[in-house]
Symmetry: C3
Subunit: 326 residues, 3 copies
């Protein structure tokens, strides 16, 4: 854990949650353990806890995502925070206001936490470096860089089903190159000591230097699936298929689609995961997405507990820091 | 009461509120009696009660309606629920997500209740049949099929002013064919034992088989109004006037518009009702809409109490069912 | 204080907050003193107080303004009110509903307070004159007429830094003619007994009759700045620059831009204020906007306390009135 990482405060505690790369195994485990407690809260009939009462969480979405915005909004509300949805896709630059001016206004409105979603890689880091020290920033996905809460909810889902990571064989399939989910998952899997992490996909979508992260590139999906405990599909951006370098939907499914036949190559209790929304018949057969090994909707559910965990940890650390400094 | 109706749970209690057709008089009366209590809450200076504290109500609006969405949002907030507004007009299919995938994601986010507004008849039924048993579905209007909370708030308004239904003469005017409000009102009026229900409107907008529902078609508005206790206008969709089968605004008003002169044919204390928004000078004269017999704005007010009643009844039943099953 | 002013109720207490013109010094001082208490609340880690619990505040924004809407939303939430955001830019007239019909529906939904933002001068007055007596109306900016909460937050900011108004020299720069902020600031400054209020700007943007309000027109920015305690920039609407009567951005900055050199002409502790968003390099140099004399972001922060003060005062008066009348 590097104190120079902008994610940490003067006490060396997590202040922003931007990127799994800078975090160590014990911190990832703390997040998973905390989420475990909130997963229990979400099963209760009254789901709210007062940990963030009187706090204001601003959802700053520069990129549309109903699914992710809703998950963060619910997580914040279940912690009893007030939530502001600031739709920056349409509003911010109406009056020629710069990003920093917008941020400073939201700071001045005494928001306590920013959840940031942005199409540019590095946007959440940029914002974290420029906000006042009283604000916690959580990355809700930035460009092709990082989507750390998705990474952690994937880890939570795996741990709930498989327990220890050290004996697991995990396969990621598809567009490794452009996927912020893949980056966050690989980083978390490696840090948590996963036995083997395999990646497989079209040559144009799997950068050869990805092996330096601690994963192994496999030549065919069939070979990658043999012995797999966890199979993670990734969303194929259809917009990219229009370019010459990426196969068509049909071609992709023929070579990399997770069909029932291919699934049979993995261990019989292998988990099927996908960050959603799935393209049925492209990345995955509908029957596999809906099948009994699929935990795709559990991932969504656990996403709330994991986000509650991250929010409550950084907010608690902010309180510790204020006390230490006063 | 048929147990095969998807609106009922395994205990035979109301689980979804989709359509008045499947409900019996005692259940309609329970809703009205419960709403009576909430109407008192809404008169207090502090209007919130904690019945749905910790619950999440998702407003799924596939069709724009600020008025109806706001009424449901207020009803849910006055019950202390958390409310998610999910604008599906713009967001859902951005990424090619199907309706069912969207629903399953919202289920996985552990919402407790869906309020559904959709342009297709049968959409609320479809959704109720496919959601997980832990979710309650309330129909906020589907196509030309049903708008049951509007029907119940109309009944509540009538009962508050007139008491018993058995001696009442109620007239519905205008576009009976396309109106989900008319369907729900007729169904509720007949079940509650209304003395006489009359319908009147242009031949193209009054289906001849409507009499099988227990109402009488009248040839002219003048004849229909004689002896009326309650006069219900219906919104004329201006878009339909462009087709050859429907009269123009001016023509409609000349034959079916509720003018002060025509109103004089009804009983002197006849109520004037309309689901809103009114087209003044088309369905109704402005002076009649604003006159002392008009209860159009009371309908809006009572809509909150009625929706609070429906929400609290289905949520209470869900709790009963969980207890019975555990 | 005139009882004929629609802002006052039958007890002569503030009922709507539309325009500073009709208010007297003691009332302005009451607002500032009340805001002082809320500024303390906003510094606490739990920022909510229960003064408006169970009340519903509807934000009626006929004109987009994320910044102002957010400030009102936060103020209402910190008072524990339920907040409805009704986006009337897109929704209201979808079905041909008139403004008054929309208002009456929101009244019927038993909202307690309307915050109104509208592009037409006089809109908030119009609405205040037509709503039911149970509703409080707060003007969030109407056309070129008035923006009274901005005026009061500017006064609050000045008082916090400078204490008494009687010895102050305040300069307003730029588009006096079209600015609702300038009108509200001038009115408040004069009522609070400010020593000297100067205005300066292009001839086309400074109406000659403005001096009748109690201010002095200065021929050049340099002369106006000598001895200034407070310097208030105003936003230049770029759309207006396209017409022949207004100088271009570059021209404006050369003659009226607040540069570091010009700032040196004012007192060394002069405050720099601006309602935001600023056009850097047009009305003000970036280094001045971000410099240590700038209180531009403090204005945003104090805006919450001031809006909480106004909301709690009018809501408390409504309670007094109900008691007096019952």
């Amino acid at each position: 854990m590097s104190l120079a990482d902008p994610q940490f405060n003067a006490l060396g505690e997590l202040h922003h949650f931007i990127d799994i790369d800078g975090l160590d195994k014990s911190l990832l485990t703390q997040i998973l353990d905390t989420a475990e407690g909130f997963a229990g809260v979400n099963d209760r009939t009254i789901k709210n806890v007062p940990l963030l009462r009187g706090k204001t969480v601003a959802n700053l979405f520069f990129e549309n995502s109903t699914r992710t915005r809703t998950a963060f909004e619910l997580a914040a509300k279940r912690l009893s925070a007030d939530v502001l949805n600031v739709d920056l896709v349409t509003s911010s630059t109406n009056k020629g206001e710069s990003l920093l001016d917008t941020l400073h206004v939201l700071e001045a409105l005494q928001c306590d936490m920013f959840v940031v979603r942005h199409g540019e890689s590095g946007a959440a880091h940029f914002i974290a470096r420029h906000v006042s020290p009283s604000i916690n920033v959580i990355n809700g996905g930035d460009g092709q860089h990082s989507h750390p809460t998705q990474g952690m909810l994937d880890m939570f889902t795996i741990r709930r089903h498989k327990g220890d990571f050290s004996n697991l064989c995990v396969v990621l399939i598809g567009d490794i190159r452009h996927s912020r989910v893949a980056r966050s998952d690989i980083s978390a899997l490696v840090k948590l000591g996963t036995g083997e992490v395999r990646v497989v996909g079209p040559r144009t979508l799997v950068p050869s230097d990805v092996e330096s992260l601690g994963v192994t590139i496999f030549p065919t999906l069939e070979k990658a699936l043999v012995g797999a405990d966890v199979i993670m599909g990734l969303r194929l951006q259809k917009e990219r298929m229009r370019t010459a370098t990426v196969p068509s939907s049909g071609e992709f499914y023929r070579t990399y689609g997770l069909s029932p036949e291919r699934l049979a190559l993995a261990k019989p209790d292998a988990l099927i995961m996908h960050p959603g929304p799935t393209n049925r018949g492209v990345e995955i057969a509908g029957s596999v997405a809906d099948g009994k090994q699929s935990v795709i909707l559990e991932q969504v559910t656990y996403g709330i507990a994991v986000r509650m965990a991250v929010m409550s940890i950084v907010m608690g650390n902010a309180t510790n820091l204020r006390r230490a400094q006063s």
